[in-house]
């Protein structure tokens, strides 16, 4: 059985890599789009077998454990649904001439490369490899953000690139410091970078150096997570890139960086003498939440607005993990999964809306529920879900975060609630304008695939009402790991 699991891991990694190579060579929009979907589906299927297969022993490079399996499955799933969405979205872009076939080929190849990078980051058991994988994923997304080659897109990509590079550099320094910390105990060589071994020995590491390492790692990977004040690249990158990429950025890439932060948090938590990572994460989480909540009000670009909402939710998630404890960790995990699904669903809707209306300006879009009911209501449901209203899954996680926090740290909970409310007000204000009132702009039919949108929303709805016991047990176990 373990052979199967190992194979599944290799498939998860190999399929995107091979697909990227093939897609880079193949011409033609229809074939490549379908191939893209097929490859993503294969990856998803392989990832799903990981769930049932017995897991291999953690190796020097690769690892499958309870924590990353959540991320892998989520990643491949959203990767797959986004590829379905992308197929219909990109078709329209090609039709309107915003993208040329050459760039399209490039786009598909990069899409699979990015999936490869993210999957690799999840399964790597080596902190150096993980760093390389995150960098790879970042670089590919940089290229995709700039793919429209407009003034704004290039600036967004440039901003992303520079800030991302600095983040990468800081993360690398942190990684080196971790190695330095581990070396006296574990000896030189690969072992001192293998995460499973590090965790096992973490209690005897030098706590002070570990603290410094964590600061660098938190800032480095935190830049990728989009934590304020390191967030600057995020809104523009979301706004100017193709919408499937915005969906993947919000839904997945942020998770990759978050995953890295979590790995190191576990490491730090395993050393009792090191500083508790909680306060740092709580502070950054709350800062991001409140800051993004206020930033939502003055947004004029629809995609940029939802990008800020992603910052807000990343803040909540980091806050939850920072609070720690079984309830908050559970809530953080749940929130992360729900946010990925919901936010990517919102971007699917927004992408089609922007296409049919020919603009991303919020002020120029009105009355969507009337002119395009399926899209409009999809957007409304998505925003309602992301705003934390039941019966959607985010309500469950926010419920757990707020209630468990208030019993422990009332003041923090009040800040949290304040931020949530401010964000709630902004999101609703905008969606009211977008979805209701007399329609403006083109009202023609839109060629959209609603399946990914509503599939995600259905999952989020389902999770809000019923969480299957195996999933819960698994989440609880992971929550326990996170300390």
């Amino acid at each position: 059985m373990s052979a199967l699991a190992l194979d599944a891991v290799s498939v998860v990694l190999a399929v995107p890599l091979v697909a990227a190579a093939v897609l880079a060579l193949l011409p033609g929009y229809r074939v490549t789009a379908r191939l893209n979907v097929a490859a993503s589906f294969l990856t998803l299927a392989a990832a799903l077998t990981l769930l049932v297969a017995e897991r291999p022993e953690p190796g020097q490079y690769l690892l499958v454990d309870d924590l990353n399996i959540v991320f892998i499955v989520l990643n491949t799933f959203v990767g797959f649904t986004t590829s379905v969405f992308s197929a219909s979205y990109i078709g329209h872009e090609l039709a309107t001439g915003r993208l040329t076939p050459t760039y399209l080929r490039f786009y598909h190849a990069m899409y699979q490369m990015m999936m490869f990078g993210m999957n690799l980051a999840f399964v790597s058991n080596n902190i150096g490899l993980m760093w390389v994988a995150v960098e790879l994923a970042t670089l590919t997304t940089v290229l995709m953000v700039g793919i429209y080659r407009t003034h704004e897109a290039l600036e967004a990509a440039w901003k992303y690139f520079i800030l991302g590079s600095v983040g990468i550099a800081l993360a690398l320094f942190g990684t080196i410091l971790v190695y330095m910390t581990a070396r006296p105990i574990m000896g030189e060589g690969y072992d001192a970078m293998v995460w499973t071994l590090l965790v096992a020995q973490a209690a005897s590491f030098d706590p002070a150096l570990l603290d410094v390492a964590f600061v660098f790692l938190l800032l480095g990977y935190g830049t990728k997570v989009g934590l304020a004040p390191l967030h600057a690249w995020l809104p523009d990158a979301h706004a100017e890139g193709p919408t499937p990429i915005s969906a993947v950025l919000s839904g997945l890439l942020l998770n990759v960086a978050l995953y890295a932060v979590l790995r190191f948090k576990i490491l730090l938590a395993a050393n009792p003498a090191a500083m508790p990572p909680g306060p740092l994460m709580v502070t950054m989480g709350l800062t991001s939440l409140v800051f993004a909540a206020f930033m939502l009000y003055r947004r004029r670009d629809i995609k940029r607005m939802f990008a800020y909402s992603s910052i807000e939710h990343m803040g909540i998630i980091v806050f939850a993990f920072g609070m720690g404890g079984p309830l908050a960790n559970f809530a953080g995990l749940l929130h992360m999964v729900m946010h990925s699904l919901t936010k990517s669903a919102i971007f699917y809707a927004v992408g089609h809306v922007a296409q049919v209306k020919g603009t991303q300006r919020i002020a120029e879009i009105r009355g969507l529920t009337e002119s395009h009911p399926a899209l409009g209501w999809g957007l409304v449901i998505g925003v309602v879900a992301i705003a934390g209203l039941p019966p959607f899954g985010i309500f469950t996680s926010e419920f757990l975060v707020v209630t468990s926090t208030f019993a422990r740290e009332p003041l923090l909970a009040i800040v949290l609630v304040f931020g949530l409310l401010v964000a709630f007000g902004a999101l609703l204000l905008r969606v009211t304008g977008l979805a209701f009132g007399a329609p403006t702009g083109p009202v023609g039919p839109v060629e959209a695939s609603y399946v990914p949108l509503y599939a995600h929303l259905a999952l989020v709805l389902g999770a809000g009402l019923y969480l299957p016991p195996p999933l819960v047990a698994w989440f609880q176990h992971v929550a326990g790991l996170l300390g």
Partner: protein, 671 residues
């Protein structure tokens, strides 16, 4: 089948109807299916709940579903308190369903109403049934969400989008307060079940904080001043039968939440908590009805009057809290009974009045009273029903509104036995405010009925209106009969409420069933008693006698002639007293201070032919002083922070750099 399971099944039917309505909402006749189902299911719910209340003897009925939080599941329970509120919700839902059978055919956008109507009903039922914090809040917010969708049904009408927005934001605020309250109650371990909460031991500050949070959370949903601002916007914006549900029933669900937490889960309150609730209730009652008096939009008037009634209920709840804290069980039971009785009453007559307003709206297309008038001729049955509602809500005998107010006054008169001086002084003052609110309510509904239905039509639409359909009439008349029955047979209601007060306070009011002539005696016969049945019979008998005598001894002749009007020539319907002018005396008394009302009359110079102009300026001070500063504060902060969107890359890098250096400094200087 246990009651709880049956009720859950009913709600499942409602939810299934909602799902079906998404698919078939535009089909011709879909509204009949949806409202018919709502009628049948709600009737069943009310009947089962009533049966439980009367027969079960307070033994809770539980059903557990593996939904919601996985380690907890969703616990649903019927106990006397829940059963009573289920009766209220069920009755309101059934009436709205019946009304909708007719009213729904006028709906221009049925696909925006039909799916959410049963969902809204189910949400309200489920809130009452929920027996753990998570399920409770889930259903609570679901209820808000469904009603929000209904408010947004006519989204293209002016002001509705804003109404929906303000509504949902306030609902979000309330939910956050409730979240915090339950967070405190459940503790860090996350014991969200109501049983666990009830059994928990807590530090002394917790009940206080929870009470405040409940006032914010449930109070914002119920419409307590100053959290009421959304209510007069949102309730009128929805279709009228939904307005009836929102005003008549949903505010009651909010009150349920408050009662459930404060009386059931929290244990004995601090003595001064009663004062807070009392004063808030009194302020709410008076401000609400004064707003209603100044309002010229009929549905907004009704919404403001809802605020008043919520205030009345909270006055009673505050009394009950104060008595309970002082160990006066019987008095607390009396006050709580008064509160719950008023809950029932208000759900009856407010639904009735909103139905009437809806009938007027569908017959004339107007909600503005300045364009109505004389409808008593064109809509005779509606006007009778509406009149009954007006008399009932004005707390006049022999209808039901008076009974609950009377009970409230009786409870207030128990205050001298309270040990705290503060309470002794405050309670009679609150009683004075309650009396003021009741008298103003009478003035308000004289105005509402008089301007809308009496006099002469002020617009063509009002002059050519037609009576509404039979379904709507049936719903209104049924509620009118309900108002009368609850008004003349209050003993039955009081006895039905006994299990509730027994369960919450361990005390009940004296049994009323065995008393002569069905009168009610809240404490002892020597103290006070009231027999509405006899009063009703006496009034009917003396009126009949008077008619008989007048017609037998005097003249039966009747002649129609032009109105006398002191001999002035008739200048037409515009010269009638209008809604604005009717309110003027009271506006002068109260409005100058409370609403900053300023009247300005511009008289042309003598000899000039220019028209004289009258302008009236009024402000909602709560809105101006509380909400506008918050909104502008958020706007200010957003503007300031928004500059961060427009920095150069270098400056963004500086932010990263500064964060890094700061953190490193912390590490370097940390001891």
């Amino acid at each position: 089948m246990p009651a709880a399971s049956f009720l859950l099944a009913c709600d499942a039917v409602l939810l299934a109807t909602a799902m079906a309505a998404i698919a078939f909402g535009r089909v011709e006749g879909a509204h009949r299916a949806v409202y018919g189902t709502a009628l049948v299911v709600s009737t069943a719910i009310a009947a089962v709940a009533l049966g439980y209340l009367l027969t079960a003897g307070g033994v809770p009925s539980d059903t557990w579903l593996p939904l919601g939080l996985p380690w907890l599941g969703a616990d649903f329970r019927v106990d006397p308190l829940a059963a009573f509120f289920l009766v209220v919700v069920g009755a309101g839902g059934a009436a709205a369903g019946l009304y909708g059978l007719g009213y729904g055919s006028h709906e221009s956008a049925p696909h925006r109403v039909l799916p959410f109507f049963p969902a809204f009903l189910a949400g309200m039922n489920l809130v009452v049934l929920a027996a753990d914090a998570f399920t409770f809040l889930l259903c609570w917010e679901f209820m808000s969400l469904a009603s929000w969708a209904l408010v947004m049904a006519h989204h293209r009408e002016e002001g509705n989008a804003r109404a929906g927005y303000v509504y949902l934001v306030m609902a979000g605020f309330g939910t956050m307060a409730l979240l915090l309250a339950f967070g405190l109650l459940a503790g860090a371990g996350g014991d969200y079940g109501f049983d666990a909460i009830r059994a928990a031991q807590r530090p002394a500050f917790v009940p206080t904080l929870v009470l405040v949070l409940m006032l914010l959370g449930a109070g914002s949903k119920a419409g307590l001043v100053p959290l009421h601002v959304w209510l007069p916007l949102a309730h009128p914006a929805a279709p009228s039968h939904v307005s009836a549900l929102m005003s008549g029933v949903m505010t009651k669900v909010a009150i349920y939440g408050f009662v459930r937490v404060v009386f059931d889960l929290l244990g004995t309150p601090a003595w001064w908590s009663g004062i807070v609730v009392l004063v808030l209730g009194a302020v709410t009652a008076v401000l609400g009805i004064l707003h209603a008096l100044m309002e010229r939009d009929l549905k907004r008037l009704l919404a403001y009057s809802t605020i008043e009634n919520v205030g009345v209920v909270f006055i009673c709840l505050g009394l009950a809290l104060a008595f309970q804290a002082s160990g006066m069980g019987a008095a607390a039971a009396l006050a709580l009974t008064a509160a719950l009785f008023h809950v029932l009453n208000h759900s009856l007559f407010k639904s009735l009045l909103f139905f009437g307003a809806g009938a007027v709206l569908s017959a004339t297309g107007h909600r503005d009273m300045e364009r109505l008038g004389g409808l008593i001729h064109r809509m005779p049955q509606t006007s009778v029903a509406f009149l009954v509602g007006c008399v009932a809500i004005a707390a006049l005998p022999p209808f039901n509104g008076f009974v609950s107010e009377w009970l409230a006054f009786q409870a207030i008169l128990q205050s001298p036995q309270v040990p705290q001086w503060g309470l002794r002084i405050i309670v009679p003052a609150v009683g004075g405010l309650l009396a003021l609110a009741a008298a103003l309510a009478a003035a308000c509904f004289v105005r509402a009925f008089g301007i809308t239905f009496l006099g002469r039509p002020r617009s063509d639409a009002a002059a050519t209106a037609h009576e509404v359909d039979r379904w709507s009439l049936a719903a209104m008349l049924a509620l009118a009969v309900g108002c009368l029955l609850a008004g003349i047979l209050p003993g039955l209601v009081i006895d039905a409420l006994a299990p509730v007060t027994l369960a919450l306070l361990g005390e009940r009011m004296p049994a009323q069933a065995g008393l002569d002539w069905l009168s009610i005696v809240p404490i002892a016969a020597g103290r006070s008693s009231y027999n509405p049945l006899l009063v009703f019979v006496f009034i009917v008998a003396s009126a009949a006698l008077a008619v008989a005598v007048a017609h037998r001894l005097g003249s039966r002749a009747l002649r129609r002639g032009p109105a006398w009007g002191c001999g002035f020539p008739d200048p037409g319907p515009v010269a009638q007293y209008s809604a604005g002018s009717f309110a003027q005396p009271l506006r002068r008394v109260f409005g100058t201070l409370l609403f900053r009302a300023r009247e300005r009359v511009e008289m042309p110079a003598p000899g000039s032919v220019a028209p004289a102009r009258f302008t009236l300026e009024m402000h909602d001070l709560v809105w101006d002083r509380l909400y506008m500063p918050i909104a502008s504060g958020i706007g200010f902060a957003a503007d300031r922070l928004n500059r961060l969107q427009f920095l150069t890359i270098r400056r963004y890098l500086s932010l990263v750099f500064v964060s890094l250096v700061a953190l490193l400094l912390v590490l370097a200087l940390w001891p």
